[in-house]
């Protein structure tokens, strides 16, 4: 847990980090070239292969996830990008027939080592899913769920502070301040997804995995989530699976292109989109396959 920001650190994060004050053009920040240069890898995978019921889904993937950066995984449907992202916090363990070979490390620790605690791993590597999936509980309880099971807060006041902070950082607080006791499912789709992000943040993970977080949302809601991701990058390492090349281009610092279960190309987002090395990448980013 040493890498997670402590509560005091969280509290110290200036308000400028929240979406409201981020200003008129948060994407401008992303475009700054310095932001993209080499950062150390937070997670790495080496020779990662995955199969479902003996049907291979992913072949021999080597990929580094840079810390405090947004890494986008792109590729046509069925290319293995969702499979890959689910390997990073071992969500694939849920599927009985799934077999994983190779290694994935997190801060140099093999997350598939036999003594690795999946529960601890998942508190460090959080996840946001394709479809918003709030629990059938109130907005407050949804956000407080993680801190409660992990025993992160000592008192009720502390818990409330953390919940409110998480909601604020997810850019949802202003909209739900008056109805924290309303069921999470009563929110709109975009709000639900931000609630899910707030829920993930509340656990204070180091890495947030996002599996097509905007695919079920309308353009306006999508824009808000994108702003949010841009803002969160300062404190978290983010991996995002996306179908939208524009989104990958706007948001990410690093892009990895998957095709038919193989990692075809990875590199700085600009490089991948402007000057792809591989023919398949070129075809994809130009919209010829997909």
């Amino acid at each position: 847990m040493a890498h997670a920001p402590t509560l005091t650190q969280v509290a110290e994060i200036p308000n400028s980090a929240t979406i409201g004050l981020l200003g008129d053009n948060p994407l401008a920040l992303l475009k700054h070239p310095e932001a993209r240069t080499g950062k150390p890898a937070k997670m790495t995978s080496r020779g990662l292969s995955v199969s479902y019921a003996n049907k291979p889904a992913l072949h021999d993937v080597d990929l580094d996830i840079p810390v405090n950066r947004v890494t986008a995984l792109i590729g046509p449907s069925g290319c293995g990008k969702t499979t890959y992202i689910r390997c990073l916090n071992r969500m694939n363990d849920i599927i009985d027939t799934c077999r994983v070979e190779g290694s994935v490390t997190h801060d140099g620790e093999d997350i598939y080592a036999p003594d690795q605690d999946v529960v601890r791993l998942r508190t460090r590597v959080g996840m946001v899913f394709q479809k918003p999936n709030p629990f059938p509980k109130s907005i407050y309880d949804n956000t407080a769920y993680g801190p409660r099971i992990h025993g992160m807060t000592g008192s009720r006041d502390e818990e409330r502070a953390l919940v409110l902070d998480s909601l604020r950082r997810a850019g949802l607080l202003d909209e739900v301040r008056d109805r924290l006791d309303a069921p999470g499912t009563s929110l709109s789709g975009g709000q639900q997804q931000r609630l899910c992000i707030a829920r993930a943040i509340a656990v204070r993970p180091e890495v947030i995995l996002m599996d097509e977080p905007c695919s079920a949302l309308d353009p306006i809601a999508t824009a808000r989530i994108e702003e949010l991701i841009a803002a969160l990058k300062q404190d978290y390492t983010i991996v995002i699976v996306t179908h939208s090349m524009q989104q990958a281009r706007r948001l990410s610092d690093k892009t990895a292109f998957f095709h038919l279960g193989r990692l075809v190309e990875q590199g700085n987002t600009e490089d991948v989109f402007e000057a792809p090395q591989d023919g398949r990448t070129r075809d994809y980013v130009m919209g010829r396959i997909g």
Partner: protein, 295 residues
Amino acid sequence: MACLIAASTISILTTVGIVLSLIVESFQFFRMVPVSDFLFGLHWSPQTAIRADQVGASGAFGAIPLLAGTLLISAIALSVSGPVGLLAAIYLAEYASPRFRSLVKPMLEILAGIPTVVYGFFAAIVIAPLLRQGGESIGLEVSSESALAAGLVMGAMTIPFVSSLSDDAITAVPDSLREAALGLGSTRSETIVRVILRAALPGIAGGLLLTASRVIGETMIVVMAAGLTANLTINPLEAVTTVTVQIVTLLTGDQEFDSAKTLSAFALGLLLFTVTLTLNVAALKIVKTYREQYQ
């Protein structure tokens, strides 16, 4: 086509037949015994004198002791099948390998397919003596027709009811919730208790209501293993009698429909029908709204 419509009205006719026959006979009964005496009376002693020159029992028709006995046995049964069935369903739905599940689920369902008279036999010759001896060895007085014996066996019988209805409810909870909880670093049990069961609660509650209605109407186990005397008690080691036992006792052999004694069986039947119908309607309603929630 007319044939088809006629066939579909048979089910309505059946219900009408049940309601009519119960009401007509009960009405005759209530002409002899006031409704309030029946519903609120604390004393049940239906053996009236059958000749003018005979002294029988006082002929008290208070259904409360029967209801209390029925509820006691049902409560015991549900306190067995509720937790065991629910835990079994959770294990099968969330932990077991598909192979284990496909092997064990049908085995559990065998329990539901066994005729109830078999359970009655088992309760009477195995469980009841066992409880008696067990109770004696620790210095407890256990009646040989204890509510406990009937309740336990009835509980075992209804395990598959609870487990398959809960299983349906649990598997109907979308995987996205499961993943959300696991993704936040919940253990499986935290996921189940805090998220899945909460989401499946209406379905499980509906299932329990249906099981309760089944348990209340169960006849053979109590006829063979429970007592005949109306005993107003909550001690599960004592003998109690139930509504169904009394119906059977009053009507086997007796074919006369002019005595309060015989007719009271129909009043009991009406009571039983009303109670189980209410439970069923409530259960179906809960399950239905729940299903709609996830569709």
